[in-house]
């Protein structure tokens, strides 16, 4: 049990009596008033014990700025009103989609809702795509448990779902000789104590031979050959599509606004902008909003502290500078440890170079704006890995917001006060790697619970296989020709940078769950992801969408209902070509 008096003393010393701490119902609750967010974060982090299941709940009033409310879609209708699914999964990120797909194996009704206009719009969409090995994690955490299990599931999962995945290996590199001995023993410890079996100690000579582009100051490092890269949003969407193919009902633009609970603490109704749902069980996979959702069910026993990270993408032209994942670690004993491995440099599964992410604490859960400092910080660091990495080759950058708890571990358990809410919260790196594994455990937990209420059987026919939109660019000339013969639109290149054809774009629009927006198509099949960033193809894609949906060009959207691209006809009006 945490020593509350000691924590209070530490807080008083640092924050001069502005923060009070109490321990009640296994919750370390902080109250008071602070003006700086860094102080709010600092106080909560000070009170937290890593990986403890006695969590810090942040009730400190932050007075420095107005915390923006959760963005809710403007849409209101009755699309989900009166639905009574056995399971309601809240959140269409990697966690929610992986869970929905596992649950779709069972003969019960499963509903997946996401408040954004597409899946993978939060942290899953802005993830760097690394499939981790868990080298930085110690035994005893849920992160460590699931990262080891999850990594092993990736080959089959990605093969089943037609999602590109590559085991490119990962280097953790060092430039300080004095770390040589400690690291040598650390690798052994990881191997025999923590079960990270594939870490090798590598020396300068071999690194230079295998990776001639790496910085010459690198002395030694650890190589993990089972590390991989995947397209994080591609996988999330594939999981959602496969879940729907297996009977899950999925709704986008559907936000949870409030809940009704009964006297036993059970959720009886979930109110959304599209009507009220009455589920038996709710899975909370709401990412940065997981604690807000928990609060709606009067079960907020942890707090999420949003942590922003920015990744940069370099032109594919520069892909020859790296063919793996790498990062240099400088250990400075004088400095406190920060909550990031400091990002890295990697070749993505689409052959771009990705640099990042950084880590910045923020109070704004949906603030995905980018800042120049993020790019500077990342490149200052990554040039130490591969000196050829250059900001000049950047074609885009984007920010995501991680959803950690103050204990910096996953929360995967049934509600403590709310009996029918299963929390899948605090999911941050290595959440992408871990999701396929914890989804299996959550499946088990949910099925056991439903089985108490009604008999549940596995479906006779469950199809784990999903086929994506064909990728013409990667086909042999003969196969490509055969596809074009079937559908000549496959021969009309719309996105010249990524070589995407009109046929692929129309296929994409015809898929289940594809919102007819420019961004949704971009996420699924990549037009606009290349070096011209949609300069040439965005008008063409806007037109294809308008024709496919039989709507006016000015009714086509970038992403949300309000993301207008054009304001209507010019004085001369539309031409028909």
């Amino acid at each position: 049990m945490p020593n509350i008096k000691k924590i209070q003393r530490k807080l008083d010393k640092k924050y001069g009596g502005k923060v009070q701490v109490t321990l009640e119902d296994d919750i370390i609750r902080l109250t008071g008033e602070l003006e700086n967010w860094s102080d709010v974060y600092g106080a909560c982090a000070m009170a937290a014990t890593k990986r403890s299941n006695v969590h810090v709940v942040n009730d400190i009033k932050f007075t420095g700025a107005e915390v923006p409310p959760m963005r809710v879609p403007s849409l209101t209708d009755n699309a989900v009103d009166g639905k009574t699914p056995d399971v309601l999964v809240i959140g269409g990120g990697i966690s929610g989609c992986a869970i929905a797909r596992e649950l779709s194996k069972w003969d019960m009704s499963v509903m997946l809702i996401e408040k954004n206009p597409d899946f993978a719009m939060g942290a899953s969409g802005a993830n760097d795509g690394e499939v981790h090995v868990g080298f930085d994690l110690s035994k005893g955490s849920l992160k460590q448990k699931y990262v080891l299990l999850g990594n092993k599931l990736y080959d089959k999962l990605c093969a089943d779902l037609d999602v590109p995945f590559r085991r490119e290996g990962q280097y953790v590199l060092f430039t300080q000789w004095w770390l040589f001995v400690p690291l040598f023993f650390f690798v052994l410890w990881r191997k025999y104590h923590d079960g990270v079996k594939d870490s090798h100690f590598v020396l300068r000579g071999k690194i230079r031979r295998d990776q001639p582009t790496f910085d010459k100051k690198i002395l030694f490092g650890v190589y993990n050959d089972t590390a991989g890269v995947v397209c994080p949003y591609g996988l999330t969407i594939a999981l959602a599509e496969n879940a729907v193919e297996n009977g899950v009902e999925a709704y986008l633009n559907t936000a949870v606004l409030s809940m009704d609970t009964n006297e036993n603490g059970g959720i009886v109704a979930v109110h959304t902008n599209r009507g009220t749902i009455k589920p038996r069980v709710v899975v909370n996979a709401a990412g940065v909003f997981a604690d807000d959702i928990a609060e709606m069910a009067h079960d907020r026993f942890y707090s999420i502290h949003p942590r922003r990270g920015t990744n940069s993408i370099q032109d594919r032209k520069s892909a020859n500078i790296i063919d793996t994942v790498a990062s240099v670690q400088h250990v400075n004993l004088a400095l406190a440890k920060s909550h990031t491995k400091g990002g890295g440099l990697m070749r993505t599964v689409h052959d771009n170079v990705l640099a990042g992410p950084d880590a910045v604490e923020t109070y704004a859960k949906e603030d995905t704006a980018t800042h120049p400092e993020s790019i500077k910080v990342t490149y200052d660091k990554q040039k130490g890995t591969v000196p050829l990495a250059s900001e000049r080759d950047i074609i885009t950058y984007f920010t995501g917001v991680r959803a950690p708890t103050y204990e910096e571990d996953f929360v995967i358990e049934w509600g403590r006060k709310c009996s029918n809410m299963l929390h899948c919260s605090g999911i941050q790196s290595p959440g992408l790697t871990a999701a396929p594994a914890f989804a299996l455990d959550i499946e088990k937990m949910v099925v056991e619970r439903i089985a108490l209420i009604k008999p549940v059987e596995k479906k006779q026919k469950w199809n784990p296989v999903r086929h994506g939109v064909p990728v013409l660019k990667d086909m042999s000339p003969a196969k490509r020709a055969a596809y074009i013969q079937k559908n000549p639109d496959y021969g009309v290149i719309i996105c010249r940078c990524e070589e995407i054809s009109k046929g692929e774009i129309i296929d994409c629009l015809n898929r289940p769950l594809c919102p007819p927006t420019v961004d949704a198509i971009k996420k699924r099949i990549r037009p606009g992801m290349g070096r011209c960033q949609g300069g040439f193809c965005s008008p063409l894609i806007t037109k294809i969408i308008a024709e496919h949906e039989d709507i006016a060009l000015s009714d086509v959207r970038k992403s949300t209902a309000e993301s207008v691209i054009c304001f209507g006809e010019t004085k001369g009006g539309s031409t028909n070509d």
């Binding site: 963005r71 021969g491 960033q533 300069g535 008008p539 992403s559 304001f567």
Partner: protein, 420 residues
């Protein structure tokens, strides 16, 4: 079945059309590949006038200018492949093998020479490091022009334009005429990037303010853009803290530079000049890879289409000659520090160099300057200028044959400024 030709032209804009016509006239078997459904390239969306002043002594619109070449191209019966995309280009002993994708499937062409007339692309907001959110309403000027002129759709009601490149200036006027409000044009440099005539005709005539030494530092808006932050910049083009100002608008239109498209060239290891960002070429516009020629905006960014056509003609003519085959003797031309770039970067002694067209841009705005070509200390060519400005490309015709140039001759191009 594999098809063959002498000259494969990639790109059906003004450069490619001129190249194909001139190669055809020299007797070569020419095939032109264009990825769009119609010939003309970006001229199709340039409905303003001012094209052809140098070449035809007439003020034509973009489509009118293109039409003159398209008509000639058609009359000559040159083969074109529209809605066709080159997916790869490989070296083979006979020349090059190009793989083409179209509605008809996948075709392979073997060609003796290739002319790259692939034009250029626009620099994007992220390439000039604009930060903030990612809303709808950030367009490059060419994209906004596509929406406005080809699709008949208004992309903005009230916008800020960043960059004073010519397309940005043209779009400032175009959008104003369509009833949109252009709050201002902001240019990070202390001098405008576009042609002086466009500053007058597109901004001054419509009372659109031009703010030099200013840039956009940030964009706002979750769904559609709602505002931009602008700031004054110092001598190093870095924003000066404290000068920030928020401007409400629904779009940011960018005219911040053009980049020659040479991705296909690079797959063949064609050497790129870091100054022009186009291939290093000799006076016949052959790149460092024998048989690969470059012209138009893929070679270097031109401000007048007239010169684009001219370079296409040069490339077309000599590509046709090359298909017949001659030994080449390249000699480098070395520009001095006052020259931003020079094209061609080398001449070929095996060809006739009596009337070699040379293009250059000065590095800065110079008053009273002299441009010279010097071979082993002897001046071959000299021209005085009252003004030299980087946005305005200069063209001269040099008689390299007036000096006995040998392979080891040092050829220099100089801009000398009075009093410097």
């Amino acid at each position: 079945m594999i098809k063959t030709c002498d000259v494969l032209v990639i790109g059906g804009g003004p450069a490619g059309l001129a190249a194909a016509i001139s190669a055809h006239k020299e007797g070569a078997r020419v095939v032109l590949v264009e990825r769009e459904a119609r010939l003309g390239g970006i001229l199709k969306q340039c409905i303003h006038d001012g094209f052809g002043l140098v070449r035809f002594n007439e003020k034509l619109s973009g489509p009118e200018y293109a039409e003159r070449f398209i008509d000639e191209f058609r009359e000559l019966g040159i083969e074109s492949k529209l809605l066709t995309f080159v997916t790869s280009l490989e070296r083979i002993p006979e020349g090059f093998k190009a793989t083409l994708v179209s509605r008809d499937g996948v075709e392979v062409y073997e060609t003796k020479t290739v002319i790259l007339a692939t034009g250029c692309r626009e620099r994007t907001s992220k390439q000039v490091f604009i930060h903030g959110t990612r809303p709808a309403g950030i367009f490059t000027a060419g994209t906004a022009q596509h929406f406005t002129n080809l699709l008949g759709q208004l992309p903005t009601k009230r916008c800020v334009i960043l960059g004073s490149g010519d397309i940005g200036l043209i779009m400032a006027r175009r959008l104003t005429l369509e009833g949109a409000e252009v709050v201002g044009v902001y240019e990070v440099k202390p001098t405008p990037s576009g042609l002086t005539r466009n500053i007058h005709q597109c901004l001054n005539d419509y009372n659109i303010p031009l703010h030099l030494s200013h840039t956009v530092t940030r964009v706002f808006g979750q769904d559609r853009l709602t505002a931009v932050e602008i700031a004054e910049v110092d001598d190093h083009m870095k924003p000066i803290s404290g000068t920030e100002e928020i401007i409400d608008c629904d779009a940011l239109i960018l005219s911040v530079g053009l980049i020659p498209e040479n991705e296909i060239a690079e797959t063949l290891d064609v050497q790129i000049d870091p100054r022009t960002k186009g291939p290093i070429c000799d006076a016949h516009l052959m790149t460092t890879v024998p048989g690969i020629f470059s012209c138009g905006n893929a070679l270097h960014v031109n401000d007048l289409v007239d010169y684009v056509s001219e370079s296409g003609e040069t490339a077309g003519k000599y590509a046709a000659h090359f298909a017949i085959g001659t030994d080449r003797v390249p000699v480098e031309i070395h520009p001095n520090e006052n020259i931003l770039y020079i094209v061609p970067q080398r001449i070929d002694l095996s060809e006739d160099n009596h009337e070699t067209v040379v293009y250059f841009r000065s590095k800065e705005v110079f008053e009273k300057a002299t441009f010279r070509i010097v071979a082993d200390g002897k001046t071959l060519f000299e021209k005085r200028y009252t003004f030299l400005k980087p946005p305005e490309m200069e063209k001269v015709v040099v008689d390299f044959a007036s000096f006995n140039i040998r392979a080891n001759t040092a050829i220099r191009a100089e801009v000398e400024v009075e009093g410097q």
